[in-house]
């Protein structure tokens, strides 16, 4: 115990500048946009500690302070905040970094640099790219459930473990992978809910036009960044294909048609999944493979029929397999044809296992990748049908 504490003290005894907690402004989220003049528009979401205390006593004040400043560089923009801030912005607890679509299209590396260089940044902050809205708008979105909106968004990202609809990327992952040659980044996307039902708001409590709420936002899908620049987006299903392949699926739901009743669906929950990407070079021909082994249980059945008979289980398994395979295929198609960017990170295999080949093709890796055949192997096992076997249906003479 002495030893553990001792070594911890060694490791953690970093900087020795004394700044009291009450003299810093805790930044929870950072957003980047471009102004019309081409400057960087930096938006910080900062906690007002006093207000959080007041809220617990019934105040309705906004617990966070969102303020934007501009500057030619990120650093100037941060320093320009000091013209209005009474405290020093403190970046060690940044939960969320949001990059505006426009900035992303121009390139993310210029933004990353300062945060990578600075000792005070939380490198495990979640990274998101906006689609259709600015980062500033995202940061201004309010939350009804959490005091701090950034934490709400972060929790949504955590929920994604049960959804498999977004590729989670931390700031650290991004800065690490952006340097790898031939690698493309896949980063989660935040966008406005398009088909938002306006009737959802009850009665006279009309929302302000300018003010978004987090429930108006949708966090799903993936942005593809090739060579530091935003190339395009994947939809949630393609995203699922991607994260199946790169083994980041924790859980998720796959809907397939009920073979016994037309128009009805059966939902399967993914319980376990392991994805593997492989590559093989034979006679200077690159062959890529994606292997997914997944298993799960039947979670929800619409329509009648006993799907637990051996034949039906086989049938359902093949249907699930087909869905997964299609997801992956879609993602691969996007990668190869639409964006020509290797966000699956096949480059890792080629670089690691076939270095000689990589030396030959490294200058036009994207092209080689795009033309390589991709074999997709999917295995699915249904482990159980949960607590019941047959779906409970009202008794009829016909159905038995």
């Amino acid at each position: 115990m002495f030893i553990i504490l001792f070594s911890l003290t060694f490791l953690l005894s970093g900087c020795w500048n004394n700044v009291d907690l009450s003299e810093i402004a805790i930044v929870t989220a950072v957003g980047f946009d471009r102004t019309d003049r081409g400057d960087i528009l930096l938006t910080l979401q900062m906690v007002k500690p006093g207000t959080i205390k007041a809220i617990s006593q019934g105040s309705t004040e906004d617990p966070v302070w969102v303020y934007s400043s501009t500057g030619e560089t990120v650093f100037t923009a941060i320093r320009n905040q000091l013209t209005t801030l009474n405290r020093k912005a403190y970046f060690s607890h940044v939960q969320l970094m949001i990059i505006g679509e426009e900035v992303a299209r121009e390139g993310v590396t210029d933004i990353f640099d300062l945060f990578e260089r600075d000792k005070e940044t939380e490198r495990m902050a979640d990274l998101l790219i906006t689609r259709g809205i600015t980062a500033r708008e995202v940061l201004q979105a309010q939350s009804e459930l959490e005091n701090i909106p950034a934490l709400h968004i972060r929790s949504i990202l955590k929920n994604n473990d049960a959804l498999a609809k977004i590729k989670k990327t931390t700031f650290f992952d991004a800065v690490r992978r952006i340097r790898i040659r031939g690698n493309s980044l896949a980063i989660g996307v935040i966008q406005k809910q398009e088909n938002k039902d306006s009737q959802e708001d009850s009665g006279g409590k009309k929302q302000d036009e300018g003010k978004l709420e987090i429930k108006d936002l949708k966090i799903e899908g993936t942005a593809v960044i090739k060579k530091g620049k935003l190339k395009g987006y994947l939809d949630p299903f393609e995203t699922r294909g991607l994260i199946f392949a790169i083994d980041e699926v924790q859980s998720g739901i796959i809907n397939v048609d009920n073979p016994l009743e037309v128009g009805k669906k059966v939902a399967f929950e993914i319980v376990k999944s392991s994805g593997n990407i492989k590559g093989e070079v034979r006679d200077d021909e690159l062959k890529l493979m994606i292997e997914v082994k997944a298993s799960g249980r039947m979670a929800d059945q619409q329509g009648k029929g006993d799907l637990t008979t051996p034949e039906m289980v086989k049938e359902m398994e093949s249907r699930v397999k087909a869905v997964i395979k299609k997801n992956i295929q879609d993602a691969v198609d996007k990668a190869q044809q639409d964006y020509q960017s290797d966000f699956f990170r096949f480059v890792k295999i080629v670089y690691g296992d076939y270095y000689e080949y990589w030396e030959k093709i490294k200058d036009n890796w994207e092209e080689v990748f795009s033309n390589a055949p991709v074999e997709i192997k999917v295995q699915w096992t249904t482990t159980s049908s949960s607590l019941i076997k047959k779906s409970g249906q009202p008794y009829t003479d016909a159905g038995k």
Binding site: N17, N18, S22, E120, L151
Partner: protein, 532 residues
């Protein structure tokens, strides 16, 4: 300047003369004539209202005059009346002179063997010891015409009974505790260890108080050098008074300036007996229930006697808890200050928000705040110990205000600091042996943390550990059995193995560490002899 030196020199000369004089007095034999004895005694005990001098005659021996001297209040008067004075006086009526009986020609032997029905009798030939014996509660019978007096063990003053000590309370284990009377204490020990090898060596210290000191150890079990060193150190003590064993402790400590104590004390016979059985020595001091044991190693602070009475699993768990408590009570405030003022990035985000919001509006820096609350607690604790019982309630009410919600509402302290102070306070009670050390370490770490954050804490730890490793207690390294490592001794440190699996006595107390002391000692002597 020169004059001053001269004066000091003269003072030293005078002191030596005085010492010689005292030595002569100690050598002084008893005068033969009883009248001379009487005048001497009355001179020595002049203005001592508790001094009693009783003169009787022994009818059988030509009406030999006897003087019985004792101090009122220190003796059992019943005993003197019944078994000393009465036999002497009654002897004349029931037994006439037996001239032919040569055995009883000597009055002293006659008294000893025929008259006094008291178990504890011995001869005294010198004046100084005789006076001392009177002072310790014995009765001395001076006989006319003899240079020998008789000491009769008659002490019997009011004593406190054997009670359960307040300082070391146990759930399971003996409830008895030492008392203020040395003899009772040695009896309590003897009752635990019924073995003639358990030695009680007496010594009288303190020029004015003449306090009885008793060195206890088991011969053959303790390393001889420990006893020798202990005796040498005790003999060197020159002081006026020994009122409590704490006086002795300061005189014979290895590191008098260290914040760590290298001599342990206990109020419980079973604890002391256990330590003696491990090969340690104990020093009992008349007038206090606190018995010193030495050598004292650091690990003993984490061990309680009860560990050996309960199941080994639980004992092991409790020892780890104590270690945890040691870490918390010494370093928690320091870690709090360092985390909040230096390393905000280490605190989990939500915890940080909580701390930030409660620190909002506090006018002090976190260090000042922590120190303020820490000092407030120490004041309260001290007040709690010293105050007369009836005021207790007032103190506890005010204390709850000062160290509680009121302080938070007044905007003087934040909630986390109150929590930190409270946890620190609770854990500090878990380790009573280190009670005098931990507050100092805590403040030291706190200041270090405020200057340099975790780095400062680390440096402070290193300084403290180095200091602990340099300490020795009667030659035994303080950090034994860890540094130096005695593998076999680890059985009774952070893990308490079952009693049946403790095959060996502590090696760390048996090994000859004394090479180094003795070598140093010898070297000094060699130099001296060369000079001669």
């Amino acid at each position: 300047m020169f004059k001053k030196f001269l004066r000091i020199f003269e003072f030293l000369k005078l002191k030596r003369q005085n010492d010689n004089k005292e030595k002569n007095q100690a050598e002084e034999l008893l005068p033969e004539s009883i009248d001379k004895v009487k005048t001497l005694l009355l001179e020595i005990f002049s203005e001592c209202s508790d001094f009693n001098l009783r003169e009787v005659v022994l009818p059988a021996k030509n009406h030999t005059r006897l003087v019985i001297a004792y101090l009122d209040g220190l003796v059992d008067k019943d005993l003197i009346n019944r078994d000393v004075i009465k036999p002497i006086m009654m002897e004349s009526t029931c037994e006439t002179d037996i001239p032919g009986d040569n055995n009883y020609i000597d009055v002293i032997n006659y008294l000893k063997e025929k008259v006094l029905s008291v178990s504890e009798i011995s001869d005294v030939t010198r004046l100084k010891p005789a006076v001392n014996l009177i002072l310790t509660g014995d009765t001395v019978i001076f006989v006319d015409g003899k240079r020998v007096a008789l000491k009769v063990g008659t002490w019997g003053w009011e004593t406190r009974g054997v009670e359960e000590p307040d300082t070391e309370v146990v759930v399971r284990g003996p409830r008895e505790g030492f008392t203020e009377t040395l003899r009772t204490n040695s009896a309590l020990l003897r009752r635990k260890i019924k073995n003639p090898n358990l030695k009680f060596e007496m010594m009288t210290l303190g020029k004015q108080t003449n306090t009885d000191i008793c060195i206890c150890y088991i011969k053959g079990l303790i390393h001889e050098d420990i006893v020798r060193t202990l005796k040498r150190r005790l003999e060197k003590i020159k002081t006026d008074a020994i009122l409590e064993s704490g006086y002795l402790e300061e005189f014979i400590e290895d590191a008098p300036f260290s914040i760590f104590q290298t001599i342990a004390n206990s109020e419980k016979p079973d604890v002391v007996a256990g330590k003696i059985l491990e090969g340690r020595a104990a020093v009992m001091c008349d007038g206090t229930p606190f018995v010193l044991t030495m050598p004292h190693l650091f690990i003993e602070s984490l061990i309680s006697a009860e560990d050996y009475y309960s199941r080994p699993y639980f004992s092991t768990l409790v020892r780890w808890l104590r270690l945890l408590a040691l870490l918390i009570t010494s370093s928690l405030p320091a870690y709090y200050v360092a985390s909040v003022a230096f390393h905000q990035d280490v605190i989990p985000f939500k915890l940080m928000l909580t701390i930030a919001q409660s620190r909002e509006g506090i006018p002090f820096s976190v260090f000042t705040e922590t120190l303020l609350m820490g000092v407030t607690y120490e004041l309260l604790r001290e007040a709690g110990v010293r105050m007369p019982r009836p005021i207790g309630q007032a103190i506890s009410i005010v204390g709850a205000l000062v160290l509680g919600q009121a302080a938070v509402e007044a905007g003087i302290a934040s909630n986390p600091v109150i929590m930190v102070t409270a946890i620190t306070a609770i854990t500090s009670f878990i380790l009573p042996p280190l009670g005098g050390t931990i507050p100092i370490i805590r403040i030291f770490l706190l200041i270090a943390a405020n200057i340099m954050g975790y780095m400062g804490i680390m440096l402070a730890y290193i300084i403290i550990y180095i200091h602990m490793c340099t300490l020795r207690s009667f030659g035994i390294p303080y950090m034994a059995p860890f540094s130096p490592l005695y593998g076999m001794d680890l059985k009774d440190t952070f893990i308490r193995v079952p009693i049946w699996a403790m095959w060996f006595r502590p090696r760390s107390l048996m090994v000859d560490h004394f090479d180094y002391i003795e070598k140093g000692y010898r070297m000094k002597r060699d130099i001296k002899t060369k000079e001669d």
